[in-house]
Symmetry: D2
Subunit: 510 residues, 4 copies
């Protein structure tokens, strides 16, 4: 059953999560002007599953049930499906202009699938079967799952079990025959208040003393003991103001919340890892790889909006054909496409895990994400350059609607004569929203830290590469080891084919 | 007479400018929570003139009256005085963490001084004498002058007189025996609502048809016909919220306003240019050079605050000694000091105009500013990297003050055990303020567009350089022209000393 | 018939091209120490076709004859084949450490194929059939074809027919019933002296007066009237010195030559374009797209050698584990993989031309190449950083082989005790070769200008993007046009799917 | 006595250093075509002292003898003198287009002066007096002194005394009543074969076990036991070829040599440090600061040559007015002036050491140098972009001089019709020389590693900055510590003036 966006929104009314905003319990998330745009963005992921033109990208047959399911709840059965997702993510980024929040759950769904399979293989546990049952229900009911990985972490220099307060990483405080009780908090959880469930995952490599911290499980967002404290966003209260211009992006928004788990009970059929410290790294790295690839879709799509906006403002200012403006816009396109190109490459080069589900290329996914920690900053810098000083000096919509002031603003903030001032004002407000305002955190800070900070990518990039091969190449060419004789068929010097090239999983479909 | 900060603030009560904010006339700027921080920042420029430790940097003897005057109202009598100003600007940037708004006026005061001198020399006019009288009153009363150059401009591809609406650049609509009447609007005028007067200057090179647009004059900010529409800032309404944390920088702020001049009468003794299109370029370029140098002071000072903030948050997160964190902080310092180094160099290499007032080195001032259009973006990018995802996901101060939620936040958003959560929360809020919030426009977009957009600097850099010399060097070394014989004293090949090196004004003090 | 590398080398002996080097006609290219390494590099493209492990990447069935052919002479029948080529190019870059010269011909072979098809469709000509016959012979004899596009160009601001000397672009000087006579010169032709034939193509968009310049044809490299003047390379004469260390890369090298066509007769069955100015742009852009993608293979492979070399020298210097060294090496990997990722993406996203042959994604190919004009410079900069000052201060191999000096050098240029000095010396020499010496032009200047200079890519990137789509996205989100209603299935605001996504050719093979 | 350049060259004939080149003892350095250009470059430093226009920059009165001396042998008595030197360095860089080699000695002369003063103050030694006597003779005889600091270092992860071979850092092997005997080798010593003496300095911080390695002394370059092994340079043997074009910069060149000290006896009156490990850091850091500042002169001057060359080639190609070419040239100027601006600022902000001699600002000197490790790479990258592919594909001068080939080349390598092909060819050769050839190491690798590698600057930048001040600023503004009350004269919040601003030495001369 694929919910329509309306059904999705209605389904949220059934949930009663403890969401706090500005110190108060939110009684009705759907009518809250600050929260609603984030629900709208999430709703797009339901909408595309019903559109004839998008259906192909947005739905697939379930590997588990053979029913048609939303791709955000599906398992990757081939590299092509990852490619389609990256393209869908770009489309959704283009339509929302901001994070649409559903990728974290999807990436978690896939990572936990393949990891539980391998845990069971090694430890003889039954996590994978349990997980499949849970996932079937998720798919059948088309519910929305938030991925919940990042712990609040306290002192970043200490392991979970070394912290002054043991609760700074989510952990098991009780085990019983019915299930487990967990405590702690997950930070910055994207879209959690718009989701039906959360999929909890550990956040880093664990050691022997951290065994209670090696926990993965599924928890309804309105389970007892769960408290969500809504994150502030830049310019958030503009949404409560009259008018629709100053917000910039009025219909769509992102969402994060501090997610506190205060002695939450989880029955065993929802527990997917429970002390297996030897699999934390696998789970984290697989999730991270998927999510780092995802950014090659959405962040390129958001860039497209920004590119369209600055090209428009250049039109309105009468400078679109100036050589330096054209050069900067071409540079913006170049950066957006480099992001997307690496995301696509990572998807196309995917490989099959033991569980049968495909994983994207780890190295390229990390490369994609490391570019994501840089290029949106240059994109917004160029956008700020092209837009001009008005970017940060617009009057308020109240001024613009004022009978006397409005006429003055209309007269004086006009660009080229052919374009109404309000059009220019709206476009500047959108760019402001993306550079400083409501969606700026989603485009800059989330690009930096989402799916792990740049240093995490650097480490993975270093680790993933076959340095012995590269050193052998250099030694051979330098004549330290045997040089290759180009005429001698049996000689390759010290060169050897990188392992991923003759991998059984490449090329797919063969 | 040097006003104390209190006297300055009181003096503002005497003025009754038409300041509009959110569609309403502001009755009391001083008690308006959104405006007051910008007055505080401006007040610092009065405060430093009274501090024993700063007095040396912040005051000087007037060239006109020999009285002690505030450096922001003074004329540059030597390169050293420019150097001291760059250092004072850095100090004020450090203390306010944001634009303190008084440099535009100062830079205008100096540029109009030397330009009117040369206009009179050529045209036999009396602008310079009038100007000196006006400036004496400014100095004696220690008033605050806003520089008002940037017109609203309409179609950026058309000259003032070619615009569909003739008012898109400020121009003279009437000349009488008593004075002139001007109409138009100046965009993004910094600190205007905190200033007693504005010094109007033309914004670009003019041609024959633009003669009415070549106007410079002084106008009280509360003169009849002047309307100021306050610019929105990112997160501006946080200042109206309870509490002081979420604002980030609670005491200090910047200010811009759209400044509309609707048939404003200006008596002749306040008119300093009236149709001399042949001097618009000189005035614009001299002002721009001063102001581009100024950014080598203040923006380095603001960087110092940001550097201190991220070093602190790294402490609180327990990662200060991580190699990649240290590397990024060192990079931030490097960028800040490069900004400052170029500002200092521009000041030290100043030259004497015909009027006796010193001008900074034009090339180096433009080089300084072009770096300013880039480095603050990298500084904030690195700050966002080091701070972590919490940067854009803090809860609200209301949550933090809530009896139950507050305790949860206190527990879970703690960094290292030794530092209270509130300290970490406050520091993150400050960084948010500088990267996204109230002072971010001052640090990013103003760095980009203030004193002219980067393309303007590129053009000046290209124009200022002696390319013939450089081509001669290359031709000589390449053997196209005569090569230099290193042993032959009379031979230099094609090399000739650049003109600025044997300038009569260098080195100063000889 | 697939030639072995030995057969290829022997086949070169049959050719007698007029190759000039240092003012003298080269009698025996194969034994010339400066030329031979470039032949060796080219020979690798023959060798891989016979290796069991590479055969899969390096050979395919001919679309024309169904015989097994070398991929460098084959037509692209699917995106997968382009992907395999990009990977083969990386492997060859890894093994040669320098340009192996055969891609230009391959990219020309494909571009002329699809373009002649479309010329014939429009003009009713017979170029395509002729071309297929020629190509069959190329494939059957496994000969090596040099692509010859870039004209010498004279004044870059003037069209071919406007030049002071009409010969500055290759053009038809005579047409007869047997064929045409062409005159002019092609600049910087890669691998031409190691090739059996050259495939001549026009270099840019042509206008009416340039009709004689719109010529494409195949010419044997030793045809009457052809003169090749060998290009100098940095440190080229080190190849004539005794010893093998100072060269750096002793076995392999690149090659360019100025190719002069002095009234060369071409029979009609070798003429593939003759005056069709309306197809010059298509031919140039298709060739350029292929070749810009190619660089995402080879330049990443060469980067791998450089990365292996600097990691080794860091080992030898005892600093491999220093945090800043690791960070720089990870950055180098990141850059190399970004190059490769964009090349792969361009290949995977290929589309089918009317002729049935596949073309890579134009936008992504240009994006790939624009990164190639930047990253090798940063790669070599980081390599120079890591290697240390010895990079440019090694003594000569003669010193090293000197009985007394050699002992001193051996003692004093030692790094860590475990590694012989000669090993360190050889590795430094290789890095020198790649940063300054024999292969540096191939890695820096060729990356910059090969397949077109960066400005050409900027222009293509601007042109390829659907800016109307992007402006529509921004207008919709800003509320200028209709906003998308996320709940209303029939509403998409102004968003429309980019044309390439529902292209009939995507996804390939389905 | 100021030697003329001819006298300097003659004086070199008196010296008989053991210089080895290509395994052979050089009998006559002056007539060796590979060595002579480096002597020419050094001779320029003598020439400027006699030119009326340069004398002011190039000479001064000796602090020791009150005689007129060459600035390269003088002590800095004021910041102005450092400023003049930075300007002279730029002039010399402009004229030679390459390193003129005399700065290392000058920077060493000043650093040893102030350090020996402080050693004596602490330890009651007599180094300073001895040193002054030696320096007087240097000045009086106008001899050329090479600075010799960098040891060969072996395993960079180990201290001098921990190396497998104790000789990998220069050390004292014997002490007697007459003097000391030293052994070891200094790497990459600039201009050593063109200098009369070398000034030996330790290369890094020492610990207790390294006491024998803490040695500074002066040694004639032809002292017994000294062996110089000449470093290879890119394209070095082009100097031995006929013709003058392919070398690029025919008259001037750089020079480095491996300097081996095999039991060299040094009498006590030439020993300036002998075991004082507590002063190694001071000596190294002072020398490094001077030398890092120096690069803000010479490397900007060399950039000027490159800028002139590419502007010329753009002229010759007919594209000088293309917007992207102008933009790139303006960027090159911007980079060059940023280098120079930081060098000037470092000099102007100099401070007085206890000895009376001035030291440049350490922080700004390091900032200057860190930019030097980056910008020349971008400058050459842009130069390679603008020049076009011909940069690396010129034929040889032999081809150009060949009667038949020469005519072809003349015809086909012509740019715009007005400029002879040879002019274009020469200019391209010069740019090749600076990007790849003979002077490229001086512009890239020397900019990277000379005066210490970039990591060394990063460390100094981190160390030099007053982080407590910056953290106090941030804490005050964030409201963690007391905020500044802008109206309260006695309140500054947590701000305190940085120590260097009220330094007794600033502003100098007042």
């Amino acid at each position: 059953m694929l919910m329509t966006p309306k059904e999705y929104v209605d389904s949220l009314r059934q949930l009663r999560p403890n969401v706090y905003l500005f110190g108060e319990l939110v009684q009705n998330r759907l009518d809250n002007r600050m929260i609603r745009p984030s629900i709208n963005a999430m709703a797009l992921t339901y909408k595309v599953a019903h559109e004839p033109e998008s259906e192909d990208l947005a739905t697939t047959r379930s590997l588990l049930t053979a029913e048609k399911v939303n791709k955000f709840n599906a398992l990757y059965e081939s590299p092509e499906q990852m490619v389609r997702m990256v393209k869908l993510q770009r489309e959704l980024g283009q339509r929302a202009g901001v994070c649409f929040q559903r990728c974290v759950g999807m990436d978690g769904i896939n990572a936990v699938f393949s990891t539980t399979y391998e845990i069971d293989q090694k430890h003889g546990t039954e996590y994978h079967q349990r997980y499949k049952e849970w996932l079937k229900r998720v798919q059948e009911n088309d519910i929305c799952v938030a991925g919940a990985m990042t712990d609040v972490k306290g002192n970043r220099g200490l392991a979970p079990s070394q912290q002054a307060d043991p609760d700074l990483f989510v952990h098991i405080v009780e085990r019983s025959k019915d299930g487990i009780v967990i405590r702690g908090a997950k930070a910055n959880i994207t879209g959690i208040a718009n989701s039906h469930e959360m999929l909890i995952m550990p956040t880093l490599r664990m050691r022997e003393n951290d065994r209670d911290y090696a926990v993965s499980c599924a928890v309804p967002t309105d389970a007892e003991g769960v408290t969500l404290i809504y994150s502030r966003q830049s310019c958030d209260t503009r949404k409560f103001e009259d008018g629709d211009i100053d917000v910039g992006n009025y219909n769509f928004g992102g969402q994060e919340a501090l997610t506190i788990l205060d002695n939450v009970f989880v029955p065993w059929d929802r527990v997917f890892m429970c002390g297996e410290i030897d699999f934390c790294t696998m789970l984290v790295e697989r999730f991270a790889a998927y999510h780092r690839q995802s950014y090659g879709g959405c962040k390129a799509g958001i860039a497209d909006v920004l590119i369209g906006a600055v090209a428009s403002i250049a039109d309105y200012n009468g400078v679109r054909q100036a050589a330096h403006i054209r050069d900067k816009i071409a540079e913006m396109i170049h950066l957006a496409e480099t992001l997307h190109g690496c995301g696509l490459a990572s998807a196309y080069e995917g490989w099959k895990t033991q569980s049968g589900v495909f994983q994207c290329d780890t190295l390229l996914a990390n490369v994609c994400k490391l570019n994501v920690t840089r290029f949106p900053y240059e994109l917004t810098r160029l956008a700020e350059d092209i837009t001009g000083g008005m970017l940060v000096t617009t009057p308020s919509e109240k001024d613009f609607r004022h009978p006397v002031l409005g006429a003055l603003i209309d007269k004086y903030l006009k660009g080229i004569a052919e374009v109404p001032t309000e059009v220019r004002y709206r476009m500047v407000s959108l760019i402001h929203c993306m550079c400083f305002g409501l969606t700026a955190p989603s485009y800059r800070a989330e690009s930096m830290h989402g799916a792990g900070s740049p240093q995490a990518q650097k480490i993975m990039i270093e680790r993933e590469v076959d340095m012995k091969l590269r050193q052998g190449l250099a030694r051979s060419i330098a004549g330290i080891d045997q040089r290759e004789d180009p005429l001698e068929m049996s000689s390759k010097g010290n060169w050897r084919r990188p392992t991923n090239w003759d991998s059984a999983t490449w090329p797919r479909g063969k």
